[in-house]
Symmetry: C2
């Protein structure tokens, strides 16, 4: 059976590489060098690059959803939840990374089908969570917006992903934070 720890370490390195360079911007050789193993042994854990990519997204989504659940449990209202959601993105950017799925969305046309479906699944899950929080915010009066919550959720997701991508081009986290504040202030007014 595959050593779970080794697989996880491979995924850790690969995740960083995809988030910084993109799925088409790294190779098995890069991971091998970082882990001091041969390319061949990577193929034992992930036979094809598409397998590696798919497991990357699925692990990323599991971890992300776990973080969202912690936010649900620990936040006092919907407004606080949104602020912590945005903070998740900022933490990624702090490490000079792009959201894994935001990066893959750019490369979408070149991805194997299984990865495409997983990317969309991640976005869907994010939007569902955001829409639920927005609805909750309307009830508890901590948030204010017009139109369907699902549409606000899409705008928020796109706004954060886009701001992240551009801010990374400038190596300027403050830039991301400013956009973040604008997007959220708007819902809190």
């Amino acid at each position: 059976m595959a050593n779970a720890d080794t697989s996880q370490r491979i995924l850790d390195i690969a995740e960083r590489l995809v988030q910084t360079r993109g799925f088409n911007g790294f190779s098995y050789a890069d991971i091998a060098a970082a882990l001091n193993v041969t390319k061949a042994s990577l193929h034992y854990h992930f036979p094809a690059k598409a397998d590696l990519g798919q497991q990357l997204i699925e692990r990323y989504e599991r971890n992300f959803l776990a973080a969202l659940q912690r936010i649900d449990e620990e936040s006092k209202d919907a407004r606080a939840k949104l602020r912590r959601y945005a903070a998740l993105y900022r933490e990624v950017l702090d490490n000079n990374r792009m959201c894994l799925c935001g990066m893959l969305a750019a490369e979408f046309a070149t991805l194997p089908k299984s990865m495409r479906e997983d990317v969309r699944h991640f976005f869907d899950a994010n939007e569902r969570w955001l829409a639920a929080v927005l609805q909750e915010g309307k009830r508890d009066r901590s948030l204010r917006f017009s139109g369907p919550a699902a549409q606000v959720a899409q705008t928020l997701l796109g706004g954060l992903e886009g701001a992240m991508m551009i801010a990374r081009s400038y190596g300027d986290v403050a830039r991301f934070e400013a956009t973040c504040d604008r997007l959220l202030d708007d819902l809190e007014s």
Copy 2:
């Protein structure tokens, strides 16, 4: 001297490839196949891929700025200008493409230095134009917003780029338009 027409046709193909697949997602072989020439003859026009990439961005920005100037000349007020600005993005998406520089922003870490600078230059030019239009909208009362125009401009640019990228993953232009409307309605209220 290089045949200008051939160079332009090469750039046309390359532009489409970058906008759909990314700079690391295509090769000289792809262009050669589309144009029915050999890879070697492409190197006559663009010795290295970095040269091709740089000229791609610079031509893209020239064309984009020309479009912005037409908008300036033909629009009745700032509000109309913003709507036409957003329409530029939608037209790109209609062709199943991503904004050239939005795509390159994702691959930023893997780009040659000259291309990085050009990508940022494109964003800078966009933000300057947007900020000027926003200021104008404040004067002519066709737009309403709080805080610095430059910050609203950044939020708008990021919002459009992000919405574009995600909408393309779903092959759903309507999704982009909905986000667009939300972003702009907000400034017109």
